[in-house]
């Protein structure tokens, strides 16, 4: 219901721009019944309206013009602090209680409220803007048989809309028909789940025929389906049409957030709209994020409030006793106020009076100052040139300004893979052909050289069809091709034949490959550049331009890829009539299936594979087998038969495939680099050293994810074991997790023998697991994760995972990502950071304490949901170790000092209470009280909070261990708070009692009394300002000109204002407001006063200095040591510490690189998708002007043949 109401009043900002657009959004009604099933009838708005489904308008903003003020104020007064100050203000207006003028509270309060309101308004304005932008996207809606342009927000459930190629899907649609045969349509779901490969969706056959608008306008089928949910891969429903029932599945759905690809157009029926769409359901709720320091601060403010009440009670009791014992007799000189008839009542009033004057222990400027400091830190992030990506022209951006110090406390990083760790670019990097490894750059030194260091790339200009973007650095491979090395030829022939890539030729020689996975694209492109150009395919043929000569192979069979086989093969007949099977697949699988003759070659190739794998490359082994004509005939007959038997078809096929993929001859191996973002392994290494645990959560396949884990050094071969959890049932998963834990504990038991771990285990599972020896990693699959995240297993899972050094979750849904983050948040009390680039990361980004979006790429959803954004993963290191660490340090120092100075300031009143009859008389002038927090002490501490640093930035990168205090929350916690408070109280005691002792019977040098109230006030105030200024000087670790300016400026301001306030002029104008006239010059001219101030300052500061000195000597912090070393180093010569580069490891693991899914082979062989080739072209040339395509289409239409001929025609065209 809440969800349904959300749209109700949105878009008022937008009304300024376009009123009509707004109206669309308002028309949503509140439905109070939880939807159990959804009924949607096509083309029947009236019918669908009675269900009151959400419209397609989304709203992420909070306020509109009318509601802003009340709602925002209401929200602000939910802040304990603000309410507290409002309450104080009311108290101050009661004359019997008022111990301070009302302006001491209202000025800061209004200031605080205004600043916050302006900030909220700005934020919301941008949300409105982005909402409007999305809501006003255009789509074509079929209304009354005519296609009309409508804004997205005006799309209703039950509408039929038309999508065109490369358009975003506006809502969750049931695919009705498309331009492709069989109602096929291709979508990219990157925004939704992060997978970049294309997916196929198919309309159900009855609707697939509804090709034109008139037919669709008459369509009145009714869909009954599940209510809105967040499961991206499931959909269940039924279409009722013409008295028939048709089951619907996810295969028929186009989800909002997808992009239509390679399909000229398609029609869909809107099932879920706006907030009901699976995308929005997956986004999670926007929660206002608070830092742990915020929460701690709120707790502390409550405690201080409690403390305040205690002081008030003590002083009130004191007052009651005093009035009873002394005051009652003193009435001859000071009668009780009207209405006060008993000491008790006087005590009661005095309680409130004291609450007012002691309120400065909870300083209102605290919250403003914290905001200002955070804002400053955010600007440092925004302005950081070292986090600016010149290539994409995107600077880092702190989108949320309230989380900075939390960046210094991160313990868990949850990272997306594609687009975050990797660039999602596959590069053919190395290969091994017939025992010879190609691809090493000659002068490469140990690690991957930067582009500048590389020699010239190989020149492919001999090949007119070469892809200019392809680069390869080893010229020997091309030489081998040119010299006619048969193995190399066969190697590339395989790559050009054995795949499911579709090719387009926009114009002669301009080939475009549409690969299902980027790996395949990379391999086929490599073959293309080396002279084996895959040009076109038909269901039965593949045409390859081999070194300039077009050769058409007959495609006999595609033995498609699947997860179990981990390989794919094609069987082709060459023009000479020879039948050959080409196979590529995972090394583990393929090497077992080689002919015994290959033994020697296998061992060399294995060495190469290990080498590649050690570099984190995705490897594939290539092999071929010559087939006898008779054998093939027999096999293909059996295959045909097996294919026609419906039951156990898969098994039969698998067995047949297995049989033919045997005794193969090894050709070599390829190594594809899944290009990491720059600096990813280094960043991960440094973050790991900083004790940050990194979990990779990806929608990608396990193999791919693990591979990346290795290449970015999260997983290493030094690891004791990598546990893989892939169980499909609860029991399996539990068992696998248990085994993993047992193994880890066994290992540690063997390390520390003689210790009864079982006992410990029963008492505390966590501690044992946290103390395990050895490095482990956990890889868990999405379906296993679903079980592991269930309530009864989540703790078990978490313990296991946290004991591992690295965790990789693959095939996870966006919501699962969020659940994992939530799980860690719930049990670990640690700060989590999620980083990602796609819409599928949004929920995770929103859930984590800190969300980071990778900007500068196509999708902006992640960035919009994020708190920080930048364009490279490697900047995370700087964000955390430099900015985060500093922010945390600064915030902690700031808070410590802030509480200290306010306690020192306020507690003086408490001590004075014992000497003024507990009458709530302030020690200071009321102007001093008003200005102390705003003027005299605010700027120096702000400067420290904004600019302070303990060690320079290079050092914090160099010594990641410096990050640890933040994680352990050492710099500001309850203990530190009490120390600050104690210091403040100590200062306040001295601040009161030293002047008290001196003034008790001191006289001025002209004989007059010194101990008058006003002189006392000035003395205490001056020594307070001096002491807190000296203290901030001690606390400041990094002096900038601004620090100097603020500290000296504050002192100067204090004296200037003091003398001004005490000047004759002001007094003459307002005698009752400026009663301290002449006080400053009279008091501060007394040597006794200055001796008192000096004494107070020394006694307050010396213990602090001594304590710090001792700490530095006896128990230095790491940062102290680093700072000291730096001083020493400045004298000596700078020594560079180099990051240790991990050496190449020699493990062997499967690297079947395909990230695509099965089923495309079948699609190709059936020819179903053959129009793809022509249509996909239109995606690159939106106005189909290329004449040969038209020819092709006409021919196809004319001949009426299904598949063979158009391709033939295409061949012809190409050869001309």
């Amino acid at each position: 219901m809440d969800r349904k109401l959300r749209c109700q009043d949105s878009g008022f900002w937008g009304c300024l721009a376009a009123v009509t657009e707004v109206l669309g959004c308002i028309e949503v009604t509140g439905c109070c019944v939880i939807e159990e099933e959804r009924r949607v009838r096509a083309n029947a708005r009236e019918y669908n309206e009675k269900f009151q489904y959400a419209s397609n308008c989304i709203k992420t903003s909070k306020y509109n013009i009318v509601t802003f003020l009340p709602v925002n104020l209401f929200e602000q007064f939910q802040e304990v602090a603000n309410t507290y100050f409002l309450f104080l203000l009311i108290l101050q207006l009661i004359p019997q209680i008022s111990s301070l003028s009302w302006f001491t509270t209202i000025v800061p309060l209004v200031l605080v409220l205004t600043i916050t309101a302006v900030k909220d308004a700005t934020d919301d304005y941008f949300r409105h803007k982005s909402d409007n932008q999305v809501n006003n996207r255009q789509s074509q809606v079929l209304i009354g048989g005519v296609l009309r342009q409508e804004q997205w927000m005006n799309v209703r459930v039950g509408d039929i809309i038309k999508l065109e190629n490369n358009q975003f899907v506006a809502a969750d649609l049931l695919l009705l028909s498309s331009s492709e045969p069989h109602g096929l349509c291709y979508i990219e779901t990157a925004e939704l789940d992060g997978e970049t490969n294309m997916k196929v969706r198919q309309a159900i056959p009855v609707t697939a025929e509804l090709g034109d608008t008139s037919q669709l306008a008459c369509f009145d089928g009714e869909v009954i389906c599940e209510p809105p949910n967040n499961k991206l891969d499931k959909f269940g429903g039924t279409l009722y049409w013409k008295d028939n029932k048709y089951p619907l599945s996810n295969q028929n759905m186009l989800l909002r957030g997808c992009v239509l690809r390679n399909t000229e157009w398609c029609f869909g029926l809107v099932i879920f709209a706006g907030p009901d769409t699976k995308l929005m359901q997956n986004s999670g709720r926007t929660k206002f994020k608070r830092t742990s320091i915020d929460r701690l601060m709120n707790t502390l403010v409550l405690w201080i409030f409690g403390f305040l009440v205690c002081m008030g009670v003590i002083l009130a009791i004191g007052n009651a006793i005093w009035e009873h014992e002394v005051g009652v007799c003193f009435q001859i000189y000071l009668p009780w106020d009207e209405g006060v008839h008993s000491a008790f009542f006087s005590g009661f009033l005095s309680f409130w009076s004291y609450i007012i004057i002691l309120n400065t222990v909870v300083p209102i400027s605290l919250y403003v100052s914290v905001e200002v400091i955070r804002l400053g830190h955010s600007y440092f992030i925004n302005w950081d040139k070292k986090m600016y990506c010149a290539k994409r022209r995107t600077p880092a951006e702190a989108r949320t300004t309230t989380l900075n110090e939390e960046l210094g406390q991160v313990e868990y990083i949850f990272s997306d893979k594609t687009g975050t760790l990797t660039q999602n670019i596959m590069v053919f990097s190395k290969c091994s052909v017939n025992g010879h490894s190609y691809g090493d750059v000659q002068d490469m030194l140990g690690h991957k050289a930067e582009l500048g260091e590389r020699p010239e790339p190989v020149d492919f200009s001999f090949n007119p069809l070469a892809d200019p973007r392809f680069q390869f650095w080893d010229p020997s491979l091309l030489e081998a091709v040119k010299l006619g090395d048969l193995h190399v030829h066969e190697f590339f022939r395989l790559l050009s034949l054995c795949h499911t890539v579709m090719s387009e030729e926009k114009s002669e020689g301009e080939l475009l490959y549409k690969a299902q996975s980027p790996d395949e694209g990379a391999l086929v492109t490599a073959a293309r550049n080396f002279g084996f150009v895959f040009r076109s395919r038909t269901p039965k043929t593949i045409t390859v331009q081999e070194l300039g000569q077009a050769i058409t192979y007959q495609l006999l069979a595609i033995l498609d890829f699947n997860n179990i086989r981990k390989r794919m093969s094609v069987i082709v007949r060459s023009p000479e009539g020879k039948i050959r099977l080409y196979c590529k697949g995972a090394d583990t699988i393929l090497l077992e299936r080689l002919h015994p003759l290959n033994q020697e070659l296998t061992s060399i190739t294995t060495d190469h594979l290990n080498e590649y794998a050690g570099e984190g490359l995705r490897t594939l082994v290539l092999a071929y087998r010559d087939l006898e004509e008779s054998y093939y005939k027999d096999w293909s007959e059996r295959l045909h038969r097996a294919g026609s038997v419906p039951e156990a078809r898969e098994d039969h096929l698998a067995r047949l495939y297995d049989e033919v993929e045997h005794d193969m001859m090894l050709l070599g191996a390829t190594a594809i680099e899944d290009k990491l973002q720059q600096g990813v392994p280094e960043t991960i290494a440094i973050l790991t050293l900083a004790n940050i645990k990194i979990w990779v959560l990806t929608g990608d396949k396990q193999e791919t994810a693990v591979n990346i884990g290795y290449s970015c050094k999260m997983l290493t071969d030094d690891m004791t074991e990598v546990f893989v959890v892939t169980g499909h049932t609860v029991l399996e998963v539990r068992e696998e997790l248990r085994k993993a834990r047992e193994k880890m504990m066994d290992a540690s038991r063997s390390v520390c023998n003689g210790f009864s771990y079982q006992e410990k285990l029963s008492s505390n599972l966590t501690s044992v697991l946290e103390a395990i020896a050895g490095e482990y990693a956990l890889v868990i699959n999405g379906h296993s994760l679903a079980h592991a995240l269930e309530a009864d297993m989540e703790v078990e899972f978490l313990e296991t995972a946290c004991a591992c050094k690295a965790v990789i979750c693959c095939r996870v849904t966006p919501l699962q990502k969020a659940q994992v983050v939530e799980l860690v948040k719930k049990y670990k009390k640690a700060v989590t950071l999620a980083i990602g680039d796609g819409a599928n990361d949004v929920s995770m980004i929103k859930t984590a304490h800190i969300g980071v979006g990778i900007s500068g790429q196509e999708g902006i959803q992640a960035v919009l949901a994020s708190d920080y954004s930048f364009s490279q993963f490697k900047f995370l290191q700087r964000l955390l170790l430099v900015h985060g660490r500093w922010s945390y340090l600064r915030m902690c120092k700031f808070l410590c000092y802030f509480f200290y100075k306010n306690f020192a300031f306020t507690m003086v009143h408490f001590w004075f209470g014992f000497f003024c009859g507990f009458s709530a008389q302030t020690v200071y002038d009321q102007y001093f009280i008003t200005l102390y927090n705003i003027v005299y002490t605010s700027l120096p501490v702000l400067a420290m909070g904004v600019f302070d640093q303990d060690v320079p930035e290079q050092r914090s990168m160099e010594y990641p261990k410096l990050y640890e205090p933040g994680q352990l929350n050492l710099l500001f916690n309850k203990r530190e708070f009490f120390i600050c408070i104690a210091q403040g109280i100590y200062t306040s005691i001295l601040m009161f009692f030293i002047p008290y002792g001196v003034f008790a019977d001191a006289t001025r040098d002209d004989g007059a009394q010194l101990a008058d109230y006003q002189s006392f006030a000035v003395t205490v105030a001056t020594s307070l300002v001096i002491v807190v200024s000296v203290q901030i000087g001690l606390d400041t670790g990094f002096w900038t000109a601004i620090n100097h300016f603020f500290i000296w400026g504050s002192l100067a301001a204090y004296f200037t204002i003091l003398f001004t306030m005490h000047s004759d002029g002001l007094f003459r104008m307002f005698p009752n407001q400026f009663r301290f006239v002449g006080n400053a010059q009279n008091t501060l001219a007394q040597p006794t006063v200055w001796l008192t101030i000096a004494l107070t300052a020394v006694v307050c500061i010396v213990p602090v200095v001594a304590f710090r000195f001792l700490k530095l000597d006896l128990k230095p912090e790491l940062s102290d040591t680093v700072r000291y070393t730096q001083l020493v180093r400045k004298k000596q010569k700078t020594q560079h510490r180099c990051m240790r580069h991990a050496g190449r490891a020699g493990s062997r693991r499967s690297g079947y690189a395909f990230s695509h899914q099965e089923g495309f082979g079948e699609l190709i062989m059936s020819g179903k998708n053959m129009r793809l080739s022509s249509l996909a072209l239109s995606s690159f040339a939106p106005r189909p002007s290329a004449s040969w395509i038209d020819t092709l289409r006409k021919k196809k239409g004319g001949e009426g043949s299904s598949a063979g001929s158009p391709s033939g025609a295409a061949d012809k065209t190409l050869r001309v």
């Binding site: 111990s99 002394v326 007799c329 003193f330 001859i332 000189y333 000071l334 009668p335 009207e338 003024c916 009859g917 009458s919 709530a920 008389q921 261990k961 002792g997 001196v998 003034f999 008790a1000 019977d1001 006289t1003 001025r1004 040098d1005 004989g1007 007059a1008 009394q1009 010194l1010 101990a1011 008058d1012 109230y1013 006003q1014 002189s1015 006392f1016 004759d1064 007094f1067 005698p1071 009752n1072 006239v1077 002449g1078 009279n1082 007394q1086 040597p1087 006794t1088 001796l1091 008192t1092 020394v1098 010396v1102 001594a1106 000195f1109 001792l1110 000597d1113 230095p1116 790491l1118 102290d1120 040591t1121 680093v1122 000291y1124 070393t1125 020493v1128 180093r1129």
Partner: protein, 293 residues
């Protein structure tokens, strides 16, 4: 003569033996005033100028309600405030529908004992000249406190329409005979109005100037203090004192400051030695070798 001497005489009269015991329960409006004489001996001569103070104890001039109970505008000679004093002065704002000048509890409770000092030399009482001007701050006398302005200098006329504070025997324009020490600018009044920070305080009462360079201001010997005892303090256990004191460059005698400086100085020195020792022994421990990585 940087040495400062102080002599304090408590004349509250709580002890039955005290000559002022008879005045203990005096009230504000007792006429004629109760007088008493206290004899005392100066052991040392007071060489330089001597300052005479009255001291009160347990008197809460720093009580919030007391402190605020004044109208500085009125005291500054503002005519409208004179006739319409600030609400802060309640309950001493008006009396019998006439505005009180000066209003408020502070003014109302002004100290009004009269102290006189005699040197007793062979049974002859020589009065010692007590100077009553120059005891207030210059700014107070010249800026903060001013008599109402109007036609002529007749204070009685200027204070027309106001009434005296309840406790006072006579109105404010009759505090002194000299015009520049009368009304709001009466220095005794000004000194009283500068409220004390602590419940035990002393206020400058009179000056005794050194006459010539050959004689100390007050010779050692016998003296007597004559008190017109008007100011009741017994009801709230207050004490009254008369203090004679000389001062040095930094004011009167102040043992606290001296002791504090000596103590703090020695502690700092000791601390410095200890820290130096510790630093020498442990201080060079932090080297780069300690940095874990």
């Amino acid at each position: 003569h940087s040495q400062s001497f102080t002599l304090t005489i408590d004349y509250t009269g709580t002890e039955p033996s005290s000559p002022c015991n008879k005045c203990l329960n005096v009230s504000w409006d007792s006429t004629p005033p109760c007088t008493c004489t206290i004899n005392f001996t100066l052991e040392h001569a007071f060489e330089s100028n001597v300052f005479m103070y009255y001291g009160l104890s347990n008197f809460y001039q720093n009580h919030r309600r007391y402190v605020k109970s004044r109208d500085d505008s009125q005291l500054n000679g503002d005519n409208s405030s004179l006739l319409n004093p600030s609400k802060e002065c309640e309950p001493y704002r008006t009396n019998e529908d006439k505005p009180i000048a000066p209003c408020g509890a502070i003014a109302n409770s002004m100290f009004n004992d009269t102290l006189e000092l005699y040197r007793i030399d062979n049974d002859t009482r020589t009065p010692i000249t007590l100077i009553k001007k120059g005891i207030a701050w210059w700014t107070d006398k010249n800026v903060k406190f001013r008599n109402p302005t109007g036609d002529g200098n007749n204070l009685t006329a200027l204070f027309q329409g106001t009434t005296k504070p309840v406790n006072w025997p006579k109105p404010v324009y009759m505090l002194d005979s000299e015009p520049d020490n009368n009304g709001f600018i009466n220095e005794d009044f000004i000194v009283w109005m500068r409220t004390a920070a602590l419940p035990t305080f002393r206020k400058l009462y009179r000056l005794i100037e050194r006459k010539n360079n050959f004689q100390p201001t007050l010779q050692a010997g016998k003296y007597s203090l004559d008190i017109a005892y008007n100011y009741p303090v017994h009801s709230f256990d207050g004490r009254k004192r008369m203090i004679l004191s000389t001062i040095s460059w930094m004011g009167g005698k102040n043992p606290f400051l001296g002791i504090a400086y000596i103590t703090v100085g020695s502690i700092c020195f000791f601390l410095g030695v200890v820290l130096l020792f510790i630093h020498h022994k442990y201080g060079n421990r932090n080297t780069s070798a300690d940095i874990p990585n």
